[in-house]
Subunit: 143 residues, 2 copies
DNA sequence: ATATTTGCAAACGCTTTGCAAAATT
DNA sequence: AATTTTGCAAAGCGTTTGCAAATAT
């Protein structure tokens, strides 16, 4: 029996470090309510760091999302989008213009309560509404 | 000015035809509450129609979904899944076993009412809950 | 000094598409 | 007969990954 050195069983990842790329990506997202895609974030950050690669952007967006510093939105069509707002809220995607808008809407307690009663443990949820946004709704009734 | 023959502007698609592939794909889904992926449907149908191609399965699942005969679920990770139940309901995906379960849960009227008041038109929504299903929740507390 | 992170390019998984032949209406 | 649909293979899109060099701790 050979002595084992500190069991790396859990594939533990060391502490995330603060690189200029990581900082710039996070900063680019701050205050951007447009729910940009990774590609869009890449283009924004590229102005500041012209040598940054798209892979780095993808890696960092994923990491920031895992850390809960940003939110990842998958709309079911097209690329994922990223949201600097991490509080509980839903999203509305317009069928016409494709824009994604924040909707301040939490899931009613009673809904999850029933689930938990039947043995589920609800950790999170993603709610995406589809339809026409105010702009496009008005435009379409004018057609 | 040359006479134009019947303007094909709208790229109108003719009526869907009933092929044995289409029928088999739809049939394979009937009563299958497991929310199979396109690949899984393909394997099932292949037993009956060994020469069917994966592309045909993809095409038909999309078509059936557009027609409202089945429902397409995008969970945000992994391939899309298909549901023969078309009525309003949510989905629960277990973080541990990955299974997707139906949750009879409609969106409360009041929630959408506010949106409609502010000019939105809500056509549909997709709600996916994440957490632990009863089986996995029990298993994990035993750890 | 050690571990993480980067940029690059190549690979990946899922899905869609162009095409000629086959099948449906 | 006209048009849709099929199977095949190839392309597509968004994303992830292997690697050696660069960087943060």
């Amino acid at each position: 029996m050979r002595p084992q050195k500190a069991e790396k069983t859990d594939e533990v990842q060391g502490l995330p470090r603060i690189t200029k790329q990581r900082r710039a990506i996070f900063a680019a997202l701050q205050g951007d309510a447009s729910h940009p895609t990774a590609e869009e974030v890449y283009l924004r950050v590229k102005e500041e760091l012209p040598h940054i690669s798209l892979a780095t952007v993808y890696r960092n967006l994923k990491l920031l999302a895992r850390q809960g510093l940003i939110r990842e939105i998958s709309t079911g069509e097209g690329p994922n989008r990223y949201d600097f707002r991490t509080h509980e809220h839903a999203h509305f995607q317009c069928d016409r213009c494709g824009r994604i808008l924040d909707v301040e809407m939490g899931l009613p307690r009673e809904l999850t309560r029933d689930l938990e009663r039947t043995g589920f443990r609800v950790r999170s949820h993603e709610l995406v509404l589809h339809g026409l946004c105010p702009d496009c709704g008005a435009a379409s009734s004018a057609d």
